[in-house]
Symmetry: C2
DNA sequence: CGCACGGTTGACCTGTATCAAGCCGGGTGG
DNA sequence: CCACCCGGCTTGATACAGGTCAACCGTGCG
C-alpha cells in the first residue's frame, strides 16, 4: 500500500562544513552522496544522470523552528526536499480559519501547490529546526525532459500527494475522533520507521491544536482521545513522547466501521 | 483564484459519425478541433505541436450512466479527458466505508491517482452518459519531453488537483453543514458557468447521498440544509434542479466564521 | 521566580447522526 | 392506460459525539 523503503536509512547529524557562500543560510550540496537520496530521488540512475541531478539542488537552506519556508501568496520558484526537520503546511480561508493540510518530514518534497498559479497557496512552517534542498522548478522541468526517470519520479511524487489527500478526505469525511487519531499515529510511526526510527516510539513535533486542525477536531478532543488510549493501555504518553503499546488495537480502531 | 475560462465554450451535442473501429466503444478523434481544448490542453501551441498533441488521444470511449471508467486496483495506463458527461471518483477504506473525493465535468482530467503505483486507487463512475478521450500516459510522458508547454501543463493539472484537495480538506476539517453545502453549490455553479452554462441554475447529477459523502455529511443533513436554504429564500429546489436566488447569501454563509 | 503557553479535565451545550415514517415521481408490467 | 413499486428524498423525534467554556496544572524559558 505505501512505499516500502529501506529501514536502514537514518539521517546523520548535519555537520556544518563551514563552506562559505554568498548567502549565509545556504551552501552547496550534492544528492549523489546524500543518505536521503532514495527518498527524494528516483533510483537506478546512471552515473552520468546522477551528476546531472546533483545540479538540480541549487542550495540548501536552513529554517529555524517556527519560521516559514514559504507563505501563501509568495511567488513559486522551487520545490523543496526536506533534508532534516519537520514541517506543517496549512491553508487559510478568507475568513481566517485555517487548516493544517499535512505534516512533512525528511525525504519528503514540499511546494507542489505553487505550480498551478506560480504562487504558493499555503504556508509551510518548520516545527523544528530544519534544512531543505532548494530545487528550482524550471531546472526540474528542464532536466526531466532529458532524464526519463526523473520525469516519471516527479509525476509519481505529485500523484502520491493526490492519493495521500484522498486518504485524508476519507478520514475527515467518515471517521470518528478515535479512528482519526489512531490512523494519524499509525501513519506517523510508519513513516518514521521507514526512516530508520522506532516502530513503536515517536516524538510529536506538533501541538495538540495542530493535530486537531489536521484531523478536523478541537484540541480538547485530541487530548481526551489521547487520555482514553492511555486508559485503555493502547499507548503511553509523556508530553509529546508517545509509545505505542498495542499497535493492533490501534489498527482495529481504524477499521472497525462504527466501533461496535 | 480559479482559472478564468471563456464562457463561450459550450459543449456541442456529440454526433456519432458511425466511424467503425476495432472496439465499438471507441473511435478516433482530434484535439485540434475540439471545443474543449482550452480546458484540457495548453494554450498557445504551434501548428506543429498541435498535430503532435492530436496523437495523444488514442481513442474516445463512451461510458453509460452508472458504469465505471476505472476501478480501484485496476492497472493504470492512461489519463482521461472528459469530453461529455459527469463523473464521481470515490475511495474506499478496508472496512467498506467509502468517500466521494470529487465530481468531475467536461474538460477535466481524471486518473491522476494511478500514476504513483501504476494502479488506480479509486473508482471513477459516470453519473450520466459520458464520453472521454483516452490519453495513454506513456505517450503523455514521451510527448511532454518534447513539447515544453505540454510538460508544464501536466504539472499544472496535477498541482491544481492538489490545491483543490487542500480546499476540500479545509471544508471537511473546519466548516459546518450549511457552509459546506453553500461552498459546494457555489463551486459547482462556478465551474458550470466557466463552461457556458447559467450562473444561477444548475442540475445536480448526483444523489443527496453522494453529495453527503463528498461533504462529510449524512444525506438527511444535506436534505435538511437544502430545505433551510429554500425556506430562507436563498435557493429554489425542484428535484435536482437548483436555482440560486441569492448568490451573495451563499457567499456570506461560506465565509462567516461561526454563523454569527 | 514567575509568567506564559501547552495540555488536561470537567460540565454543559449543540449540531449532526440515527432511526423511523411517509412522500413523490418515474419506470414497469399487467 | 393505469396501478404498483422502488429508489430517492423529505421530515420528525431522539440520541450522542464532539464542541464550547472554564478552571487548573505542569514545565520550560526569560
Amino acid at each position: 500500500m505505501s512505499a516500502v523503503l529501506s529501514p536502514t536509512i537514518s539521517p546523520t547529524p548535519v555537520v556544518d562544513l563551514g563552506i562559505a557562500t554568498l548567502n549565509p543560510q545556504t551552501f552547496k550540496v550534492a544528492c549523489s552522496n546524500c543518505n536521503l537520496r532514495e527518498l527524494c530521488m528516483p533510483v537506478g540512475l546512471s552515473e552520468a544522470e546522477l551528476t546531472r541531478v546533483d545540479e538540480l539542488v541549487g542550495a540548501r537552506r536552513r529554517i529555524k523552528r517556527g519560521e516559514v519556508l514559504f507563505r501563501n501568496g509568495e511567488k513559486f520558484s522551487a520545490l523543496f526536499a526536506i533534508r532534516l526537520g519537520f514541517f506543517k503546511t496549512c491553508v487559510a480561508s478568507e475568513d481566517g480559519r485555517d487548516q493544517v493540510t499535512g505534516f512533512q518530514m525528511a525525504g519528503e518534497i514540499i511546494g507542489l501547490d505553487g505550480i498551478v498559479n506560480d504562487h504558493h497557496t499555503c504556508d509551510a512552517v518548520a516545527l523544528e529546526d530544519a534544512e531543505v534542498c532548494v530545487m528550482p522548478f524550471d531546472k526540474i522541468e528542464e532536466l526531466s525532459r532529458e532524464v526519463n526517470a526523473l520525469q516519471h519520479h516527479v509525476h509519481k511524487i505529485m500523484s502520491r500527494e493526490i492519493v495521500r489527500e484522498h486518504g485524508v478526505m476519507l478520514l475527515l469525511g467518515s471517521m470518528r475522533a478515535e479512528e482519526r487519531l489512531a490512523a494519524f499515529l499509525l501513519n506517523l510511526v510508519q513513516r518514521l520507521h521507514a526512516r530508520g526510527f522506532s516502530r513503536s516510539e515517536l516524538v510529536l513535533r506538533m501541538t495538540r491544536e495542530e493535530i486537531g486542525s489536521y484531523l478536523g477536531l478541537k484540541l480538547e478532543t485530541v487530548s481526551r482521545t489521547f487520555s482514553k488510549f492511555v486508559e485503555d493501555g493502547i499507548i503511553e504518553v509523556k508530553q509529546r513522547q508517545v509509545k505505542i503499546i498495542e499497535p493492533d488495537a490501534l489498527k482495529n480502531i481504524v477499521n472497525s466501521q462504527t466501533c461496535l
